[in-house]
Assembly symmetry: C2
Homo-oligomer: 444 residues x 2
């Protein structure tokens, strides 16, 4: 029987959240992670949680592979194959093919490689195109790398707001450099539509997947993207500072050598010949020797995704991620109304990553501050771990942000309930006004 009159949405309760956990097909994966007792960890978009397997693997790689087998482990433990072996574990999460992804270096370095290559290709094919377009609120390191290459090769970096994207893709643009999911707001671009709009003008696209890989379905081939990079220490749970990944579409990959031409990208690295000959395909995007222990731990993070594959893979992770973020938004509105919190993250599913960013207006805190920083610190003191990202100051369209990441591999629906209860308690009690929560730390 259906009713066709409007009903008032019933308030969501703790029992509802527990029912969602009971129905969660991905719930068994939570035990693959060593989550600290008493904490609700909503900062997996900054540093993913530790896979349980990583502790044992660390012992093995340190005391056996390094300690006992020593130099022999380059062959016997497969150290030399790690960049492409790990790349092949990431490839299915981002719609890349076999042996098209390398895990190597850091995100900024990989961006330098692919943007350098994109500019070389563009200079040959469309020499009149001298601009790089990116978002003003892109993660800054992407902009810093672009600035370096612009200065070196006489390009102009043009920073826009997202609503300017449709009109800015013109004949003078060489490269569109976007982060798929915005680190501040969690807003997600339409990769396929923007790539098509760029290609219609001959513009090459570079997608930063730092907040996408392992968090939302990505289809690089389906979107016909040109280049992609991303880190492994957020939703991929690779460990602090674990090496990043790089993908180049097969139509571009062998066209040029990338500039950071270290020996591991050579066609015959152990021949020790004096002349550089790049390896075929993505292997050429390697540079020097990789940090083996950090690489080995990343493999533990990626193996959880192999296990998730049997439970529905990225589609199931996406369903849970949207359910978690929907629930968080609904509960914030239900439980914390009247405390000056806004929602910066799009409510439209197609435009949302796996995080929710709340806002506070400037002046809502102490001495013209928004209070957002202090609220985040008060929540951390209660074991609810999110983070703060500063806005552009009074008058800016970018407000201060309280950022909460929802990693569907290990965050549950009851976690969301308790997190919101802590947000309400911090706001109602005014405990965020305490001086200790208003002192800024070096890393926030």
């Amino acid at each position: 029987m259906t009713t066709n009159h409007t009903t008032t949405a019933a308030a969501i309760g703790l029992d509802d959240c527990r029912r969602m956990d009971a129905a969660d097909v991905l719930a068994p994966l939570r035990q693959r992670f060593a989550l600290p007792a008493g904490d609700i960890y909503l900062d997996g978009n900054s540093l993913g949680a530790q896979p349980v397997a990583a502790a044992q693997r660390a012992q093995e790689v340190v005391t056996q592979e390094w300690g006992k087998d020593l130099i022999r482990s380059w062959n016997s433990a497969g150290w030399v194959d790690m960049p492409l072996r790990l790349g092949n574990l990431i490839a299915p999460l981002i719609g890349a093919g076999e042996n098209e992804v390398a895990v190597v270096d850091g995100t900024s370095l990989n961006l330098y490689k692919v943007l350098h290559t994109a500019l070389r290709i563009s200079a040959q094919d469309r020499p009149q195109a001298r601009r790089i377009i990116s978002e003003r609120s892109n993660f800054p390191t992407d902009l810093y790398i672009a600035q370096s290459l612009c200065q070196q090769f006489g390009y102009e970096l043009v920073l826009i707001e997202p609503e300017e994207l449709p009109t800015c893709l013109q004949d003078d643009v060489a490269v569109l450099l976007l982060t798929h999911v915005n680190y501040r707001t969690g807003a997600m671009h339409d990769m396929q539509a923007l790539t098509a709009a760029a290609h219609a003008k001959g513009i090459l696209t570079i997608w930063d997947l730092c907040h996408s890989a392992g968090a939302v379905p990505v289809d690089l081939h389906g979107s016909d993207a040109d280049f992609a990079i991303g880190c492994s220490y957020k939703y991929l749970n690779g460990g602090p500072g674990a090496p990043a990944f790089v993908w180049v579409h097969p139509r571009h990959v062998n066209r040029h050598a990338q500039p950071l031409s270290g020996w591991h990208g050579h066609d015959a690295p152990f021949a020790f010949v004096p002349g550089y000959e790049p390896a075929p395909n993505i292997a050429r995007y390697q540079c020097g020797t990789q940090p083996v222990v950090s690489m080995a731990l990343l493999e533990c993070g990626l193996q959880v995704f192999a296990e998730a594959q049997a439970l529905g893979g990225m589609a199931a992770l996406r369903r849970k991620s949207l359910a978690l973020t929907d629930l968080f938004i609904q509960l914030i509105e239900q439980e914390c109304a009247g405390h000056g919190l806004g929602v910066a993250t799009p409510r439209e599913h197609a435009q949302r990553g796996s995080q929710v960013s709340l806002t506070r207006e400037y002046g809502a805190g102490i001495d013209g501050d928004s209070g957002a920083y202090a609220i985040v610190q008060a929540l951390i003191a209660r074991g609810v771990i999110g983070d703060f990202r500063a806005g552009g100051g009074p008058g800016s369209r970018h407000l201060d942000i309280l950022r909460f990441g929802f990693t569907p591999l290990y965050v549950g629906f009851e976690d969301v309930w308790h997190a919101v209860a802590h947000v309400r308690a911090v706001l109602q009690s005014q405990e965020w006004r305490k001086p200790e929560f208003n002192q800024r730390k070096s890393v926030t």
Copy 2:
């Protein structure tokens, strides 16, 4: 009483080696390393041994700092300070000042940064100088990086033999790029004299210290060097692929931004502003987030050097290194005469690093081969771990090399005795001719 008539050198025996061990002031440091039982490890010039402390530290950083403290560890565990904190542990080993060394990225990447900067400085000060000089037998990755920058900026890479150095430093040279201790032969350049000769023509110097740092005394300031780079996983025992280091003389460091301008090199990395402003001093040579676990293990390696300081430091390490390599050469000549082994490493102490490279002529092995590869494999099967480096083929001045590194922190004099006994046994028994020792592996 002194005798002034010539005596025949008495043969060295095992007891002599044991007496040298008993008199070794650095002997207590051996127990700081988890050396595999039954092996004699003479490949610390490729991958240094595991400090005992690294096993415990790996557990701590994985299960406590990552697993329990998670994102908070950037502050609480000092992750954010690691690049300069570790740099300050390396600085006294290479004659650099406080806060002048950063531990970051890899050797090839750091070379890209400093060579790029050196070329910018040279282009301003001496625009007519368009050549980079390096050694033909330099470690290839240095040459590959130089080739990339030459192609980008219109320079010419000129490769020379060491004896050509005095005459090739002319007005058309921008940069002299040398590895201080040659990876094949163990020959060591006179850093001070060559830097002075280069500076007399206005040429900038870049020193690769991969086979020097922790192995031989280096005095960057005393030599008035301009730039230096080096890895941490050889004599510094930082672990496989542990991040590398970079030093820039204070007279150059703030002159330009380096090109790999990631956010950790920004003056205010956590302000997340869109415009790049390089941090003052060596901090600007950082790029992205570093692999924290690998960095933490490197710190264990560096702490052994802090302990060595109380036992005489680099001067004592150098005395022992020379005594070990002298002993190895003497014993090879005493025990293995007539088996076609030559010594490629200089006998002059001032020209020797901390390794000894033996040679075999082409044709001394099977099917025109030198036999060097197979001898190394036969030694490895016996637990004597050295490595093989191919020469240039028949007719080349570069013969096949059997490479033995002597890390004075953990190699003893009795080890040298037994290693040479195995060399003699492998040669006398001809066991190196077995087929299994003549099959090449992917990494050698």
